[in-house]
């Protein structure tokens, strides 16, 4: 399908609210982490938000970890 319109793609196909809701920023063990809700209700770490380089060496904050 080819669209020929001055509207942006996001105006034509708006992102669903549930896609926004899936991603959350939470405090986990005193550090901010960005998580994605899994279908089974658990959360998977997407990204660690910290400036301490040592936090990135901590296994419990590795992206992909289920919390």
């Amino acid at each position: 399908m080819i669209l020929y319109t001055p509207l942006s793609e996001s105006d034509i196909y708006p992102t669903e609210q549930k896609d926004y809701d899936k991603c959350q920023t939470v405090n986990y063990q005193g550090r901010m982490v960005q998580v994605e809700k899994q279908d089974d209700g658990s959360f998977r770490i997407l990204q660690l938000l910290s400036t301490d380089p040592n936090d990135y060496l901590d296994n419990s904050f590795t992206p992909g970890e289920i919390i």
């Binding site: 400036t51 380089p53 040592n54 970890e65």
Partner: protein
């Protein structure tokens, strides 16, 4: 009997660590990394789009300025942190969020070093130059182009004035925090024929240094070395004041 028990315990522990290691490898395809003592250098990574007043759909990789600003404040406030390294690989984003980050970084009393890896485009340029010293990887690029507006645009001359003023803020910040001349920066910004279908210039690593936009070509090694040097200078100055 009593002698055997600790051995058994050890074995159990071994098995436990082994299984967690296997789990880690299965999950991430990598084993655990070693832990290190507290670091006096903190790191701030600015990746993907710089997200400001509007939340972008989740498929975008974004750096939210409301996350970074408290971190910058914490870095300034914590006496254990002596320096900050800023890793940039960004496609740009919200002008005001980017300028806010740049101003926060520029006003830190602690030494900062930035490294542009991959790309530090558009609003990534002021963020890169806001550090005390900036590095760019030889393969990294920075796109300098006029700012643009999305969303509802009212077709009045004032809209242009507003945009022009916004652009002036970016130009002012970059020229006052780097060695590039305003004339040269504007020339790169409004150049035609470099970018297909757009106005501007894609400045590659060594050229960015040649124009005075970035201080040096380098990577992590150079950045850490420079930061340690700046930290030492900072400490000595502190002693002299006392």
């Amino acid at each position: 009997m009593a002698d055997k028990d600790p051995g058994k315990q050890d074995q159990n522990d071994d098995q436990k660590t082994q299984s967690s290691l296997v789990q880690k490898i299965q999950q991430l395809g990598q084993s655990s990394v070693p832990t290190a003592p507290d670091s006096n250098i903190h790191v701030l990574s600015i990746i993907g789009q710089v997200e400001g007043h509007v939340q972008l759909p989740p498929q975008n990789k974004t750096t939210k300025y409301e996350h970074l600003i408290p971190q910058i404040v914490a870095v300034e406030q914590n006496p254990k942190i002596e320096g900050l390294i800023i890793i940039l690989n960004t496609v740009g984003g919200d002008v005001e969020a980017g300028l806010a980050l740049s101003e926060m970084l520029a006003s830190l009393s602690k030494p900062t070093v930035s490294i542009v890896l991959g790309g530090g485009h558009s609003i990534g340029v002021p963020i890169a130059v806001s550090a005390s010293y900036s590095y760019i990887a030889p393969s990294a690029t920075m796109t300098i182009h006029p700012i643009r507006l999305t969303g509802l645009v009212i077709g009045v001359p004032q809209t242009f004035e507003y945009l022009d003023k916004m652009q002036e803020r970016v130009i002012q910040f970059v020229t006052s925090h780097s060695n590039i001349e305003e004339k040269k920066f504007k020339e790169l910004m409004f150049e035609k024929g470099n970018l297909t279908r757009d106005i501007g210039t894609n400045v590659i690593g060594t050229d960015a240094v040649k124009y005075g936009l970035i201080d040096g070509v380098g990577g992590v090694k150079e950045a850490i070395k420079k930061l340690n040097e700046l930290i030492d200078n900072n400490k000595q100055e502190g002693k002299m004041i006392q």
